[in-house]
Symmetry: C2
Subunit: 336 residues, 2 copies
Amino acid sequence: MSNPVLVDVTRGGALESRHRGAVAVVDASGAVRFALGDIDAAVYPRSAVKALQALPLIESGAAERFGLTDAEVALACASHSGDDVHVAAAASMLERAGCSPAVLECGAHWPVGAAESRRLAASGRSPGPLHNNCSGKHAGFVCVACALGVDPAGYVGANHPVQREVRAALASMTGETLDADACGIDGCSIPTYRVPLRGLARGFARFGSGEGLDPGRAAAARRIRRAVAAHPAMVAGEGRFDTIVMECLRDRVFCKVGAEGVYCAALPGAGLGVAIKIDDGAARAAEIAMGAVIRRFVSLDEDASAALAAVFEPAITNWNGRRTGDLRPGDAWGMP
Amino acid sequence: MSNPVLVDVTRGGALESRHRGAVAVVDASGAVRFALGDIDAAVYPRSAVKALQALPLIESGAAERFGLTDAEVALACASHSGDDVHVAAAASMLERAGCSPAVLECGAHWPVGAAESRRLAASGRSPGPLHNNCSGKHAGFVCVACALGVDPAGYVGANHPVQREVRAALASMTGETLDADACGIDGCSIPTYRVPLRGLARGFARFGSGEGLDPGRAAAARRIRRAVAAHPAMVAGEGRFDTIVMECLRDRVFCKVGAEGVYCAALPGAGLGVAIKIDDGAARAAEIAMGAVIRRFVSLDEDASAALAAVFEPAITNWNGRRTGDLRPGDAWGMP
C-alpha cells in the first residue's frame, strides 16, 4: 500500500509533480484525531525533534546554571540559517559554559541560508562548526555535559551521558522504545532513532499541553515553547517556514522541520501533536502538509490567513517573477 | 496505479525515503526496449530537451554564420553552474551575433552552483542574466533570431519565430503534437510542452542515432553531440552528474538533466533514447535512475565503473565525512 498524495505541484494548470506521505495528528493520550497514510511506520525524526532533545538542557539545570537567555534556548531547538545572530548565540552558549567552539563535534558547513552563505563568502571568511545549522543544539549538549560534570568530549556518541539523557527524554515523550537497531547517524553526527509517526505526534501533544508529564518536565517544555515563541528567528531564519509561522502565530503553534521531509508540531490550544513524513524527503512538501494541518486545527483570523498564504499555498514563480504554477495540498486532505 | 519505487534512500541500514517514477528506453522506431511505470503519461521536459531545442541553432545556419565554437554550441544545451567560463561563453555568443546581454529575457539569478555563487559574492558582484543557468540556450535563441533576420525581442514568446522553430523541432523529433493546451512556462520564461515519456525517449534515440532523420537534421544532431562530448563541463559544471558522466563516457552517452526530476539521454551505441520522470521532482533520484539505465545498456570497463560509482550509487555522508546512508536503485530495476 502506498501512502496518499499529500501535495500537488502544478505548472500551466497541469500536475507536474506530486508528493506522497503520511500525517498523524494525535492527542496526549495517543488517540488519533486525524491521519493520512501509514502512521505506524517508523521514521527517522532528524531535526524535527530538537525541542524534545533540548529537554535535558532545562531539566539538568544547565540553562539556569549558565544563565542561558530565551534566544539561546530557542537556538538549542534550531536548524538555523547560519546568520551572524545565530553564530553569536551559539558562541555565547559555549562561553557561558566555559568552553570554546573547538569542543563542537557537529562538523562545519557553509550556512544553509543561501543569502547568509553569500554574506559569509563576501566577508572573506570560511564557515566553522558555529555555522552548522545544528550548532545551537550542540552547544546545548555541551552545556548539559558541563552541568552533569562530565567531559563533553565524545558527546555525540550514543553511549555518552548526554545522549543517554537525550534518548531517555525522547523515549519517555513519545512512549516508544528506542533500540540500538533503530539507530542511524544524523547529519551532525548524533544518533537519530526511528520512531512511528504516531508516537512522534503523541510526544509533541504532550510537549505542547504538558498533559501526562511530571511537573518538572512540563515546566521544561513550557520554558522551551516560551523561548521559541519569543524568538522564532532563532529557530530557522529570515524567510523560512518555521520562522514565518511562529512570528505570526507565536505560542499557538510550535513547529519544527527535519531533514528528509519530516515535520513535527505542537498545537497547544487543541491539545494536539503533529508528525508528518513525506515519502521522498522533500522539504517543500512537508511545509505544505504542515500548513494544511495548521489551517485545519488552528483557527486563523483574516490577517493571519493573509500573512501565511504565501507559505501555506505558495505560487511557483520563475526568474522573471512570473507565476508558472503552485504548490498545494492534494485531494487526500478533502479540503474545499 | 502508482509508479514503482525507482530509488531507495537509506540511513543506518534502513529505508529513510523513496522516490517513485517512470522510465522509458525506446529505439528510433518507437519500440520500447525497457520500461518502468507509466511511460504514456505526459511530462514537462523542462531543461532535459535543451539539445533538441538547440537544433534550430545549427539548422538555421546561425552557428556557422556567427562562427560559434564547440564550447558555445555545448553551452546552448546547458543548465550551467554559472562559473566564469560559462558566463564568458554566453557573452561571446551574443557578441558574435552583434547583441548585448541586455537582449536576454531569461531573468537573473545567483549561480546554481553553490561554490560559483559564493565566488561571485566574494568578488563583490551581483548576478545578471548571463549567470542564469539557461543563458547559453537563450544566447542560442538570440543567434537564431539574428540568423532568421527577425527582431530577437520577445523571443521567449510561444508565437515568436524562434519558439515556433523550436517547437517544430521538438514535435518532429518526438513524433508528438505540442498543443497550446499542453504548454506551461519554464523557469527561464520559454514555453515548455508536456510530452509522453515514450515520445521523449524516441526523440533522443533519433537524436543519438540519426535514424529516420533527414540528412541536414542528422548532421545538426551530430554537431551538437560532438560539441557536448568535447566540452562536458560547459553543459553543467564541476562536480555535477552530466559533466562527470560525459567526461568519462564522451560520445557514448549524451545525457541532460531537467528540473522536477526529468532526465533524458541518448545512447548512440545501442540506438536507444531514454526519458525519466521522478514523480516528486527530485534531481537526486533522477540521477540514480539515469545511472541504472546507463549501467544496463552501456558496457562499462572497470575504470569507467570505478569513476562513475560515486555518482551512480553515491554514499550519503554527513558534515564530518561519516557515511550515514546510501542512494541506490530500488527493487523495481531487478538489479543484482
